[in-house]
Symmetry: C2
Amino acid sequence: MTDVLDVAAPATIDAEAWFQAFEQALTSGDIAAAADMFVEDCYWRDLVAFTWNITTVEGRAGVTDLLQNTLANTKPSNFALSEPATEADGVVDAWFTFETAVGRGSGLARLKEGGAWTFLTTLDELKGFEEGKGPDRPHGVHHGAERNRLSWKERRELENAEMGVSTQPYVLVIGGGQGGIALGARLKQLNIPHVVVDKHPRPGDQWRNRYKSLCLHDPVWYDHLPYIKFPDNWPIFTPKDKLGDWLEMYTRVMEINYWGSTECTSAKYDDATGTWTVEIVRDGEPMTLHPTQVVFATGMSGKANVPTFPGQDIFQGEQHHSSQHPGPDSYVGKKVVVIGSNNSAHDICAALWEAGVDVTMVQRSSTHIVRSETLMDIGLGDLYSERAVESGVTTEKADTIFASIPYRILHEFQIPLYDQMREVDADYYAALEKAGFDLDWGADGSGLFMKYLRRGSGYYIDVGASELIASGDIKLVNGQVKELTENAVVLDDGTEIPADVVVYATGYGSMNGWVADLVDQETADKVGKCWGLGSDTPKDPGPWEGEQRNMWKPTQQDNLWFHGGNLHQSRYYSLYLALQLKARYEGLDTPVYNKAPVHHLG
Amino acid sequence: MTDVLDVAAPATIDAEAWFQAFEQALTSGDIAAAADMFVEDCYWRDLVAFTWNITTVEGRAGVTDLLQNTLANTKPSNFALSEPATEADGVVDAWFTFETAVGRGSGLARLKEGGAWTFLTTLDELKGFEEGKGPDRPHGVHHGAERNRLSWKERRELENAEMGVSTQPYVLVIGGGQGGIALGARLKQLNIPHVVVDKHPRPGDQWRNRYKSLCLHDPVWYDHLPYIKFPDNWPIFTPKDKLGDWLEMYTRVMEINYWGSTECTSAKYDDATGTWTVEIVRDGEPMTLHPTQVVFATGMSGKANVPTFPGQDIFQGEQHHSSQHPGPDSYVGKKVVVIGSNNSAHDICAALWEAGVDVTMVQRSSTHIVRSETLMDIGLGDLYSERAVESGVTTEKADTIFASIPYRILHEFQIPLYDQMREVDADYYAALEKAGFDLDWGADGSGLFMKYLRRGSGYYIDVGASELIASGDIKLVNGQVKELTENAVVLDDGTEIPADVVVYATGYGSMNGWVADLVDQETADKVGKCWGLGSDTPKDPGPWEGEQRNMWKPTQQDNLWFHGGNLHQSRYYSLYLALQLKARYEGLDTPVYNKAPVHHLG
């Protein structure tokens, strides 16, 4: 029961003054003045708006360099707050919008001591190529009379019949999981001729084919796809087959050109024409495509890492990677040894135990464990939860807040949360350690998200397996695998674990491994390792990169891109990748600032 | 850039005082005092909250009667404004919430001269049987370890295997168009064992099988289904096949128990057991179901009305009802005569002309025509449009506003809109009349929505055909059909129209015709005519009913219900029908107030 009175708060007045002065400095080309408006330890993260790249610069020198290289082209203008600024602990949060020469953008700045501390700028749309949505949505039917018009269905059928035959996709997306699908939706919305190919028959099969107990470990608020949110009745943790159905539905109603049962066999780039020649097999028939851009959306956890051990050739039982694990049903009465102690290993062990199977987990290195409930509450609750939604933090706002914290300092925000979790669940962790489980909290105690961003592995979100480890129901053995015998797994210390089945829950390799398979090793080496921040922590060697390697941004190979990650990243970064592709499709000038050099091969 | 100051507006203070006094009168059982708080010419429309019915009472005497019959059971309490009240032209709009003994409700009141003029109360949920959504959404997976648990997929498969075999649906919904699907979604959400059956193989086929040029005539904001809205990129006027895909995917992701390729052959009610015996043929196999409740969702425009003319047996060409019309492709080079001048007749004629077919429309009675753009702007714009959404009128709010205007006075709100349309499009109407088209604006000039509510026919929303009528490209003939000859349609005045094909765009019969087919004529007569308000205008005979006959509310046949209408009605009324069914499923007391008597057989 309130009325509204038009009074600006001090934080808003401060922020408006800051942006006014900042814009004036930029408009007058006074880069030194603009850089001086940042505090000493500042970070400017840009998603495509200024840099045609995904990049973060640090300090005033970084800001200066960014502006020296991008200001003339970008021509930023019309900075304005998009809502009242707020202040807490001496930091003013300012949500803003702006324009560039070719697009409209938005961002979130944190101001302290009168200067910008963190500064996020994102490109939201290209002028003249706005998406047809909301007030600009399509009409659906042309009203009036028109001889021999095609119906919607006839137009879709014609597009499908011509694509790859008389017309070519501008973008070929290899891989049709949530990454390829989210990107496909963006490409469709931006009217970019595209095809998303996947070897599975139906969208969602990537999930359906996994072990039967699998549910998403991230909660629903974190998992929305672009354009169509999961409805209010959607479960917090989506069962894999239900997610499969959603992805299939989404692909159809978003009218993505999705080719199932299609495998890529090779891809070759022609520098002269700037296009690819990609050989595919579609429904058993060979076909050649000539896309300009190729996106690998093959899964940042897609290329199975199968370790080599002596004796694998003489082992008489069944061996498979966790990605091939069918679930427990056919293993009742057998002895199963699972090598590994991350998410998949835990899920698989728990499902085997639930089915009454004798199961042993081999832990080879320390693992970070967080209880799902605790992670939801302390780790995600402020951004992705019912509580967040109710307090106005929509998924879109949460994404921006998350993106606005520079990777360089993200661990500082994370460490206190994990300290809190450790305290809340102290008894739980004590029980696990007592059972011999080797725990860690990340190299610097920054926990799960940092591990995910740095190496994409090394943790388990506990949804039930840990109590089985603590109770000894899932047998736990620590050590390195020395070899397999005909009927056992043998560790370095001589421990022999009888086995009818060995599951390698040993993770995944870098996505550029797919490039080696489809293009050649030379190109794979040219683009180098994917994922990770260069944090100089285990499995994420330095030097510092500032952003995730090769993801969603230009690589060292022209017209080759990587897309992927969890549902959150597939949703969020698909927009920025799609806008980069759209700009090239429309022939806009896209000078890339700060393209990352390659430090590691894979 | 505004801050909020806590000051209540006078309208809010007035409305709060009104509700406080109203609640006090109700709580103390002072029905006379409560009735006195309404103005003389008042209307109270209740959707299930007080009356376990959909009913409107008029005047203080009506309010008194309603309260005398329902107050003791309903025990209303906790009336509160849900947002600040607003005032315009001496009328205060007050949105409110309240509780009853068994549920929670909401409503919209219009107060004038200190009393309630229109008063809408709706039941939103039953206490103890709230839907699992938002904060109460399902968890998706039980965290923890549990021997031999079933996965989501296994549980769905088990439910499907058992339904109709070892378990029975409590509700059988006959007909799986948008009505059956929307209701199915509600039943699923309320955990009511149900089956929706349809003779077509796939959800959406009801639309796919219609003439190929068909698009929805209502715009997207009016068409959302419950729980999952069409996304922002959805076209304004959905093409039929695209709608078919949406319905199919909706049915899947909402986990509705939908049996395609299933035809009901008979249904019989057993008074002693209070259950039905329904014979069906599912995928060619006969099967008997024993539901407690049967809902006819067979389409308020579902039972084709094929007229009888002398000579139909000797006509040498093709004859079919518009619902069977395949589109123009096979009629090129032929002469087609379309009998009728409503929506389908116009759409079919226009598509035939677009394909180059010689086509004649036979107009037998006057028709109401509105240009789609004008209808969208003037007729719907305030409630269902991008503009409405932007000004805070969500589809949910629009539904409530629309429901809050009593049918008795709805035409008074509509007439000025249609006067405006007639003026704006004066030249357009003059051209149509010049071409000989017989126009009307409804019996009282109240236009399209009233025609829809009263008779469900008698109009065309112009999306292009009218200019072809005006130009003579679609040939227009006025008159009554006398007979068919071997190769022509002959009118009363002797006009002979050569014809290779005759399309009967002659509308649909009352839904209780389906009851005659499946149950028996006696039961069909017992429930009587469906649809219409008793407005004593053409095809809607009096006496005044106050609500649409038999729709979404108890009928004279126990455990037999009708559901349907356009997407708006399927969305909105499915909730109130589902809550009535849920209450009965859970064994709550549901005394029906004011059950409508039957005045017409069909």
